[in-house]
Structure formats: structure tokens, C-alpha cells
């Protein structure tokens, strides 16, 4: 009992700021304005299926891109000297010292038709490319903002893969593809899981990126939830219902992903 004492502050924090709010979301989602039980709110969420699918799709694309960019970087970084690693990790974290909103705002001015990127393209004689207010810009915003959350867990797990392990694989006759597939990747899987979770979950529920970079005309599910609270009609019940559905979907996606992981691991070790 004594040994658990130091974790008490967080347990209290969790109870007050995580468990209670989730309970409130549940309560609001299943009640009407006058507090009686209903499943009307949940069934109403169906009308936002299109938006929900779009959000899942964009978040998934952003997650895959993040993984593709971060994985090789994290691997090669983990093979370098400690001082190089420190500098690189600093550089990865550097954008996070600035406020999230400001960074997204900056992308807005970069991507605009008269923005810096298009000015540069014009300088090279290439016509202005429509970049702002597209789905691509939204994905870009997500990748940019959440990339550090992919790199950091991947890096910290890959540092633990010893060079001797790789050498052993090579000694036993594995080429680089085999040693990647059967040694590096399985060992780095926990980092991949963490990274994917930390990118996918915030990406699916973002609302400010789609408004600033997507032009506001292609709402994501986060925008719709926000509208339920500060839109023309104040409807926390509907907002909670959509949030709840979103939570369930994310939870299912994550647990599905986790199960593939553990079954895969067994395949390797058995």
C-alpha cells in the first residue's frame, strides 16, 4: 500500500479531470434537455456519417505519412552519436515551443495563393498552385503538428535496440531486409503503437486545422462537435453524443490495432 502512495496525486488528478468528465459526457449523451433518458441523440449521430468517415480517412492518411517520415529518421538517428541525437531531438521539439495556433496560422500564410511558397514557384516560372483550402492542406497541417509525437516514441525505443543485435542477425546470415523485418521492426513495434496512437487520436478530433487550412468549407467531426457547443444552438447533449461515438470508434480502432500487434508478436516468437 505504501509503495502506491507516490502515484496518489495523479490518481486524484485522473479521477477529477478524466473520469468525471467522461462520466458527464456519458450522462449528457443519453439524456434530453430535461434530464430524461434517451438514445435519440446517439441515433442522430448517423447523419454525420460522411463527416465522420472523412475525419477518419484524413487522420489515417496523416498517421501513415507521419509513420513513413518518422520511422527511417528515428532509426538512423538512433545509430548516430549521442551528441548528434541530442541536437536532432532538440530540433524536432523546437516547433513545439511555439503555440499550436500560431504555427497553424503561419502555414496559412505560407500556403496561400499569394503566399511565400507560391511566390517562390512563380519565381521559378511555375503557375500558382492551389494549396490552401484543400484536404491536402489539412493533412499537411496534421502531419506538421503531430510529427514530433511520432518521432519521439519511435526514437526512444530504437535507442534501446543494440547494434550487437543487428550484428548477430547479420552473422546468422540475414540480409538487411530480413534483419529489418524479423529483428528491428518487431522490436520497435511498441514505439510504433505509441506513435500511431499519439498522432491518430488528436488528428481525428482536430477542429482548428480544418478551419484554418481547409477553408472551413469541409468540416471535420471536431468542427461539428464544436458547433454543438458554440454554434447557433447550444446543444451539449448532441455534442456529447457525437463525442461518445467518436471515442468508441477511436477505442475500437486502437484495440484492433493492438490485437494485430500481439498476435503478430506471437507469430514471430512461436
Amino acid at each position: 500500500m505504501k509503495s502506491k502512495l507516490p502515484s496518489l496525486p495523479y490518481l486524484i488528478w485522473m479521477a477529477v479531470f478524466i473520469v468525471v468528465p467522461v462520466g458527464l459526457v456519458l450522462y449528457f449523451a443519453f439524456t434530453t434537455q430535461d434530464g430524461t433518458f434517451t438514445i435519440e441523440n446517439i441515433s442522430q449521430v448517423g447523419q454525420y456519417t460522411g463527416v465522420l468517415l472523412r475525419s477518419i480517412w484524413l487522420a489515417a492518411v496523416a498517421t501513415v505519412i507521419c509513420l513513413l517520415i518518422a520511422y527511417p529518421l528515428a532509426f538512423f538517428l538512433s545509430r548516430t552519436r549521442a551528441s548528434v541525437q541530442r541536437t536532432f531531438i532538440m530540433l524536432v521539439m523546437l516547433p513545439m515551443w511555439m503555440n499550436f495556433l500560431l504555427r497553424t496560422y503561419a502555414w496559412m500564410t505560407l500556403l496561400e495563393n499569394g503566399g511565400l511558397i507560391n511566390k517562390f514557384l512563380g519565381f521559378l516560372g511555375l503557375g500558382p498552385v492551389q494549396m490552401i483550402n484543400t484536404s491536402g492542406a489539412v493533412v499537411l497541417g496534421m502531419v506538421y503538428n503531430y510529427l514530433p509525437f511520432m518521432i519521439l516514441p519511435l526514437h526512444s525505443i530504437m535507442v534501446k535496440i543494440e547494434n550487437t543485435t543487428l550484428e548477430a542477425a547479420q552473422d546468422l546470415g540475414a540480409n538487411w531486409l530480413q534483419s529489418f523485418r524479423r529483428v528491428v521492426f518487431p522490436l520497435s513495434l511498441p514505439g510504433v503503437m505509441t506513435g500511431v496512437t499519439m498522432v491518430f487520436v488528436p488528428a481525428i478530433s482536430t477542429f482548428i486545422i480544418s478551419r484554418m487550412l481547409g477553408g472551413g468549407g469541409n468540416s471535420l467531426i471536431g468542427d461539428i462537435i464544436e458547433l454543438q457547443f458554440i454554434g447557433a444552438s447550444y446543444n451539449p447533449h448532441m455534442g456529447s453524443a457525437i463525442s461518445l461515438v467518436l471515442m468508441v470508434i477511436v477505442l475500437l480502432c486502437m484495440s484492433l490495432f493492438n490485437q494485430f500487434d500481439s498476435s503478430g508478436k506471437e507469430g514471430i516468437y512461436s
Binding site: 496561400e112 483550402n133 447550444y234 470508434i249 484492433l256
Partner: protein
């Protein structure tokens, strides 16, 4: 070691001196105090009693001492000894949600017309005691008393007012702009900005159709939504404050926005012009109110009275740029400001303008529903996809688990 300590001491001494100087400087600058009209009101009533009020206002909606303007909250604190905690909101709905949640108490809030109506209807505003607000009688223009949203004038004191018009870049728009039609003009596809706010967007569409902005007729609202959907391919982005950047930089050519912000955008880009649509537009009033659930109503009323002091109202007008309903402030303005056709348009514009009223919950919900449809660009997706996905995910994870446990059992058996 010793040297280091000495250095530290000198350093902290210098720091103290610098801080003192910093603190003293503004005090010196404020020597030339302002004169306030204190007849009929006892500003000293709460001095020394450690009273504070929470003021909840729009962002950038009060003079805060920048560019040699008056710091209104500071001056009020000096005059009365009442401490002002000043916080901001961005939309009426945000303010409403905050107020409704009851998480924090506010003493003075600044809702717009229709929101005042809604708050009155829901019994969330306190009846003002105008004995504590003599400046209301003295300086607030009669045209801004007993307006539709507060017909008996019991709950609100007009703070600012303005209209919605069309801002456009004369270097990019050659056609004459005098109608909402320009926002639906194919020639400017991709250069049009639109309100990212259902009430304002529907207001424009309804006016273009010749209906009232306060209609509760579902067919009319549906028609307006269809019009907004028709406009969507031409719209570059749905924005609010981003308009300052986008229009100022020439990224977009046309946008409807509040008249009070025109001067700011024009200062950035002199090509921007302003026009009133002949179909009529929206006239809004933002008013100071006191929530029923406040800390100190009398102190709040003193603050409202202070805001209506001509000197204060004038300073606020200069900072905010929105039209002022205060006759005392109007007298302090120079001829050019008084004759500004954007801020003080003639009766012709004002007569055809409409003020938003509070709509019933059903209409609000319906409008929100339509607005989401406009924004989310729904292709007809099957509603069952999500439930099927959920069921599928559960099935797959069940399958994996079952298979794994069978495998494990077999393995144990083999051993």
C-alpha cells in the same frame, strides 16, 4: 566566490531600480488626469472595501491604454477603488455557454441584440437600477433605448452598434458593388470570403431572397440554405477574423463584414472599399448587461455608468472603431468622424436594416442543422456504415482473441 556574491547583489539592486523606474514612469505619464462627469453618482461608495467585479467583453473591445489611449479599467479602478477583472470572449454563443455552465460569475457582460433577448427570455439578466447609471439618461441616444430585444429598456445599455456591409478590393473588382448578388457572382469564383457563423451567413442569404433575417419559416430557411450551398463552390473560405489577413493581403477580393472593422482593414490596404447592399442589411447593437447571478450589481452599474461617460465612450470609440450610441462621445468627435458614411450611414441604410432577434430553440436548431449541411458537403453516405464498422471491429477482435486462446491451449497441450 565572494566576487560572485557581490555581483549578485549589485545585479539585484540594479534590477530593483529598473523595476522601480518602470513602475514610476507610467505614473508620471498619467499625471494629466481625465475629468469625469460625477454628477448624481457616488463613485466612492465601495472605496476601501476590497470590492472587485468581473467584466466579460469581446476581444479588443475596450480602450486599454495603447497608443496613448485611456486605460479604461485602470481609470475606473483609480476613480472608485473597485478592482476590475477583465476577460474576453469571441462569440455570443461562447459567452452564453460559459454563463449557462455557471462555472464563473460575471458582473458586466456585453452580448449582442439577439443574445440580450435570449438572456432576458431565460431570466438570466438582472434588472438594472438606473439610479446608479445617470449617464444613461444624459448621454445615451434615444434611438438606442427600448429596442426590440429589450422593449422596456430594463436590462441593457447600448455600448456599440454597427452594420454589416460588403468589403471589396477595388483593384480586383471592377463591377459596381451595391447588392449581395456580388457574393454569388461567378466572375469572382474563389475570391469570395463568407462568414463562418450561421446567423450572419443565413442573414445575408435571407436578405438576398427578400425575406426577413428573423424568419422562423422553415421553407424560407431551407431556401436560404440552398442558396448558400449554391454559393459554396465560389467561396474561397469561411472565416471570421482571418478576413483581416486575407482581404488585406489581396488573397481574396470580396467579403461581407462588420462596418466597424473596415477602418482597420483599409489602413492595411487602401484599395479596400465598403458598400451597403440595397436589399438591406443587419444592424447590430452590443449592449452592457448585468447577469442575475453576479457578485456586486451596484458596482457593475457604476462600471456601466463609467463606460457612458463622454470621455470614456469617446476613447472607446477611438480604439474599437465601432459606432457609438453615446451623444457625449459624438460631440467630442471631429467633423470627419461624425460624417463617416460607413460608421454613421444615413437613414436610408438604417431604415432598410434589420436587427437580429432571438429565435426560438427549434428554429435555432434547424438553422444549425442546415448550416452543418452547407459546411460539411455531404455526399449521401449510407448511415449504416458506422454501426456496421463498429460491429465488424468487435467481431474481428473477438475472432482474433478466440483464435489466440485456442492456439495457446493447443500449445500448452502439446507441451
Amino acid at each position: 566566490m565572494k566576487k560572485n556574491r557581490l555581483f549578485k547583489r549589485v545585479f539585484s539592486l540594479l534590477l530593483c531600480l529598473a523595476l522601480l523606474l518602470c513602475a514610476a514612469c507610467p505614473a508620471l505619464a498619467e499625471e494629466d488626469g481625465y475629468e469625469f462627469d460625477t454628477t448624481g453618482v457616488d463613485y466612492q461608495k465601495f472605496r476601501g472595501q476590497n470590492v472587485s467585479i468581473n467584466v466579460y467583453n469581446w476581444g479588443l473591445y475596450i480602450a486599454e491604454g495603447e497608443d496613448e489611449s485611456m486605460n479604461v479599467c485602470k481609470e475606473f479602478e483609480k476613480l472608485t477603488g473597485i478592482k476590475v477583472n477583465y476577460t474576453n470572449f469571441a462569440t455570443n454563443e461562447e459567452m452564453y455557454a460559459k454563463l449557462k455552465s455557471g462555472a464563473s460569475k460575471y458582473d458586466v457582460i456585453f452580448p449582442s441584440d439577439y443574445m440580450v433577448g435570449k438572456l432576458i427570455e431565460e431570466g438570466m439578466l438582472a434588472e438594472l437600477n438606473f439610479k446608479n447609471i445617470p449617464n444613461y439618461e444624459r448621454y445615451v441616444d434615444d434611438n438606442f433605448k427600448n429596442l426590440e430585444y429589450d422593449p422596456e429598456g430594463k436590462y441593457s445599455v447600448a455600448y456599440t452598434w454597427g452594420t454589416v456591409g460588403i468589403l471589396y478590393n477595388t483593384a480586383m473588382v471592377e463591377k459596381e458593388v451595391n447588392s449581395w448578388d456580388i457574393l454569388w457572382d461567378m466572375d469572382y469564383a474563389g475570391q469570395i470570403l463568407m462568414f463562418n457563423n450561421s446567423r450572419d451567413a443565413f442573414g445575408i442569404a435571407l436578405k438576398k431572397l427578400g425575406y426577413s433575417m428573423n424568419t422562423t419559416d422553415k421553407d424560407q430557411l431551407k431556401e436560404a440554405a440552398d442558396l448558400l450551398k449554391e454559393q459554396k463552390p465560389l467561396v474561397q473560405a469561411y472565416v471570421m477574423d482571418e478576413i483581416f489577413d486575407k482581404l488585406g493581403a489581396g488573397e481574396a477580393a470580396i467579403a461581407p463584414y462588420y462596418a466597424g472593422d473596415y477602418a482597420l482593414i483599409k489602413a492595411d490596404n487602401p484599395d479596400i472599399a465598403f458598400a451597403f447592399p440595397e436589399e438591406g442589411t443587419n444592424r447590430f447593437v452590443d449592449a452592457a448587461c448585468v447577469p442575475k447571478d453576479c457578485n456586486n450589481q451596484e458596482a457593475a452599474e457604476l462600471f456601466i455608468n463609467f463606460l457612458n461617460d463622454p470621455a470614456v465612450a469617446y476613447e472607446n470609440f477611438e480604439t474599437i472603431g465601432y459606432s457609438s450610441p453615446n451623444t457625449g462621445a459624438l460631440e467630442l468627435m471631429d467633423e470627419e468622424e461624425k460624417a463617416d458614411p460607413v460608421l454613421y450611414p444615413g437613414d436610408k441604410v438604417l431604415e432598410s436594416a434589420e436587427t437580429f432577434l432571438n429565435l426560438d430553440d427549434e428554429t435555432n436548431e434547424y438553422m444549425q442543422q442546415l448550416w452543418i449541411e452547407v459546411l460539411s458537403d455531404d455526399q449521401n453516405v449510407n448511415r449504416w456504415i458506422i454501426p456496421v464498422f463498429v460491429a465488424g471491429a468487435v467481431a474481428v477482435s473477438l475472432f482474433i482473441n478466440v483464435r489466440r486462446s485456442i492456439k495457446n491451449r493447443r500449445k500448452r497441450y502439446e507441451k
